[in-house]
């Protein structure tokens, strides 16, 4: 098991290397640089900035320097945020995104699981189509609609919760962003679990168990949940990586200093080092969660262990 885990993690290194390499050269291939804008810089000033950030070196040299620094854990200086290192920016934003993302993930699993299970076990009754339609709405409405509506209702109209901001001593700051992040995931998880449970309960071995008189509660808790949660776990790999690295929409609407906006803003501002840092982090999390998903698959389905 340990050697399997080590092999899997080591195989991630070339993946991340390719990811960094592609991102490095794709970003440089995009027209425009960090200093282009409505206001042009005097040529000598631009040249000084180019020198300061070592952009005057040949591209291959910059690439090798970047890899060399990366090996020492240095992601370089940000172009957009003067005087900040990328490691600092990510280090400051990551705990915020992790706190929000993990709370949203927990809420999604809890509510999505309950809704999905209720819908599956009450299949064909009035509550099933009701929950199906509610979750369909949850999947369909994007965050940029849900988030402002939540602010309008709970902050502006009712005044129960803050409209935005992030303070360490104000846990209420988390409530609306977590709900906005979790709502689409609740809907996804509920739908996946419902369908998974219905499919599992329709398998011959579980129908036989049912026919032999095993109560539905025991059938689900002992047997059916294992195959039923497999699609949910597949979805959770990338979904967890997405939730934990933040959402640009939710962060902008609620004024949250998380990681999500770096993915978008850094690319738009040609903040090469910040883009690379964000991509590297996201890539690592994807690899990590996919690995966890594989482990969970193996634990839940013995047929997959030898594979």
């Amino acid at each position: 098991m340990l050697s399997f885990a080590l092999r899997r993690l080591l195989s991630a290194v070339p993946t991340l290397f390719v990811l960094v390499t592609l991102t490095f050269f794709l970003m440089r291939a995009a027209p425009g640089g960090p200093f282009d804008g409505e206001r042009t810089l005097p040529p000598q000033v631009e040249a000084a900035l180019t020198r300061e950030y070592h952009l005057d070196a040949p591209l291959w040299r910059q690439y090798l320097d970047y890899l060399g620094n990366l090996a020492h854990g240095d992601l370089g200086p940000s172009f957009q945020y003067e005087g900040y290192r990328v490691t600092e920016l990510i280090g400051d934003a990551l705990p915020v995104s992790l706190a929000l993302g993990s709370a949203a993930l927990a809420l999604s699993l809890l509510l999505g699981g309950v809704i999905g299970a209720v819908a599956a076990l009450r299949q064909g009754r009035w509550i099933d189509p009701l929950l199906t339609h509610i979750t369909l709405i949850g999947v369909s409405i994007p965050n940029y609609v849900i988030a402002p509506l939540l602010v309008l209702l709970f902050a502006v109209t009712l005044g129960w919760l803050p409209a935005g901001g992030w303070h360490h001593d104000r846990p209420t700051d988390m409530v609306l962003p977590v709900i906005a992040l979790a709502l689409p995931q609740i809907a996804y998880i509920a739908r996946l679990l419902r369908n998974g449970l219905i499919d599992a309960l329709a398998t011959p071995y579980l129908r036989t168990a049912r026919a032999k008189g095993l109560p539905l509660r025991l059938l689900v808790l002992r047997h059916a949940w294992r195959p039923a949660v497999l699609p949910v776990i597949s979805h959770l790999g990338p979904a967890a990586a997405g939730l934990l690295t933040g959402s640009v929409v939710v962060e902008q609407v609620f004024g949250i200093p998380g990681l999500g906006r770096y993915f978008v803003q850094a690319a738009l501002n040609r903040d090469y080092t910040l883009v690379l840092g964000a991509v590297l982090l996201y890539g690592t999390l994807i690899v990590l969660f996919n690995f966890v998903v594989d482990l969970l698959y193996g634990a839940l389905d013995p047929r997959l262990r030898t594979a």
């Binding site: 027209p31 409505e38 810089l41 300061e52 200093p257």
Partner: protein
């Protein structure tokens, strides 16, 4: 008791300002965004400042003399100026700041702003050492600056954050990262307390500030956020006292619900379409450029697209600039129907018709408002002139590169003046100005600007600048669309807020209730 009273009354007062995008730096010589400049005016103080109504006032300098026909400025600093850590602030600190800003090694976006100072342009171009800048400390409290030519706007430049002093020991110790909490030492009414990137910059009043007795607000929070709609929600929820702007689409409701809190005022900014003069047929056909300019119904755009939060523009220099008469093309005063008829005639005379329509391209950078305006203008040209306009949307950086390389035909552009003078706009069209993406070169225009810059009589200088603008308007290498306005929501609890052309507001001039 007399001393304690004001302090007791001020205890704990907080002003929360929605400040738009995250400031890129708090180093006054390295910043360029409006959001960073706003914070810098609270953190630092220059020799002069912009008064509440836009006039120049003494700041760190209590007075000055101007000699040699407007070329030699001598400033006297206030006695006992101190940095926020208690260290003495001297004339040499102001000298160092000006040398630093023109030094190309600093990488200052506003290096060229101080080109009127003797040797500044040569230093920025890398031909001279920063030590040769004609700025001298004549003692700890006296400073002299020599200009190449008289520049009546020069006192205004010294109110610009790019000229503000920085605490050199902190720069020496921390390098580029000196402008951070715990390191930044400043000389303004406030000092840096905390900075959470993409969240807020928190300031605390600076007890070492020479005029601290008149500072009313103890703490100021500059809240970052480029989502204007989200900022409005936070304002409505009572979490912000001032917004950086208001969303256009919500303007009617804001007027109805919060009309008394809405501050809309003329602003030193222009939204226009540039025309690439290197590209045919528009580049070599004045009649075509003029026809396109005439056919735009600016009042309709301002009314329906901008929801009244702009002013129709016909000239290049915005109205309200000090000592300057705004210029307009002759046709700007005609009724729209007459303009349209003339535009149709010009196009027909140039050989364009329904069977042979003029085809143009409007290129704009990604933004909903740019898209809406381009769509409306293309429709106006299509319906009223038969011109076929193709709309091309580009990502910001790609757009600016293409503009600079001359790969555009008609392109969206904007210019915000850095100081209250017509030259802040007219210089943009000068041959050799890096921003002249119209690639318009007119020797007579450049000569008028040159003559104006050597003119010490304000009226004669204004006349030359006005003549230059008329020349640019006649050549039409651009199509003015609207003037920006400043548009803030300000809570009734905030007092002392005064609108001005540069949209400059110092927190030390404001007060808050409760």
């Amino acid at each position: 008791m007399l001393v304690l009273c004001p302090l007791t009354a001020q205890a704990g007062t907080l002003l929360r300002i929605g400040n738009g995008p995250e400031p890129e730096s708090l180093d006054p010589q390295r910043m360029s965004s409006v959001s960073a400049l706003n914070i810098a005016r609270d953190l630092y103080e220059g020799l002069t400042r912009i008064g509440a109504d836009g006039e120049i006032e003494p700041a760190a300098a209590w007075g000055w003399q101007i000699a040699d026909g407007g070329r030699r400025y001598t400033f006297d600093l206030r006695p006992n100026l101190r940095w926020s850590n208690g260290a003495a602030l001297t004339a040499q600190d102001f000298v160092a700041a000006l040398r630093r800003v023109v030094d190309p090694a600093t990488g200052a976006p506003y290096a060229q702003l101080f080109a009127p100072i003797v040797n500044a342009a040569a230093i920025t171009a890398g031909h001279a050492s920063p030590d040769t800048l004609a700025v001298w400390a004549l003692g700890p409290s006296r400073l002299q600056i020599l200009l190449k030519q008289p520049a009546p706007y020069f006192l205004g430049l010294l109110a610009h954050p790019a000229s503000f002093p920085i605490y050199l020991p902190a720069l020496a110790q921390y390098g580029r990262a000196f402008a951070r909490p715990g390191r930044l030492v400043s000389n303004g009414a406030y000092r840096l307390e905390a900075w959470r990137v993409e969240s807020q910059v928190a300031l605390q009043r600076n007890r070492q500030y020479w005029d601290d007795a008149h500072t009313q607000i103890d703490r100021v929070q500059y809240v970052a956020g480029d989502d204007v709609a989200a900022q409005l929600q936070r304002y409505r929820a009572g979490e912000l006292d001032v917004t950086s702007e208001v969303p256009l689409v919500q303007a009617p409701r804001i007027r109805a619900d919060e009309g008394s809190e809405l501050h809309v005022a003329a602003y030193l900014g222009s939204y226009f379409y540039g025309i690439n003069m290197q590209r045919a047929p528009l580049g070599d056909h004045l009649a075509l450029r003029r026809a396109l300019a005439m056919a735009i119904d600016r009042e309709l755009i301002v009314d329906k697209v901008m929801n009244g939060l702009a002013l129709p523009a016909y000239g290049w220099v915005p109205p309200g600039v000090s000592g300057y008469q705004a210029q307009l093309p002759d046709w700007a005063r005609w009724p729209y129907a007459r303009r349209l008829a003339e535009a149709q005639r010009l196009l027909a005379d140039a050989g364009y018709s329904a069977a042979h329509p003029l085809q143009v391209e409007i290129r704009y950078n990604t933004h909903d408002d740019h898209k809406r305006i381009a769509t409306v203008i293309a429709a106006m040209w299509k319906q009223r002139l038969g011109v076929q306009a193709t709309l091309v949307n580009e990502e910001n950086k790609v757009f600016f590169v293409h503009r600079r390389l001359g790969l555009t035909q008609i392109f969206r552009a904007a210019w915000i003046g850095d100081f209250d003078d017509a030259l802040s706009f007219l210089d943009v069209l000068r041959a050799g100005n890096g921003r002249n993406d119209e690639h318009w070169h007119d020797t007579a225009y450049d000569a008028l600007l040159q003559r104006a810059s050597s003119q010490s009589d304000p009226a004669a200088r204004a006349a030359l600048l006005e003549a230059a603008e008329r020349r640019a308007l006649a050549a039409q290498p651009f199509i003015p669309i609207y003037w920006y306005v400043s548009k803030h929501l300000v809570k009734p609890r905030v007092h002392g807020w005064r609108d001005n052309l540069l949209d400059v507001h110092y927190s030390k001039d404001l007060g808050v209730d409760g």
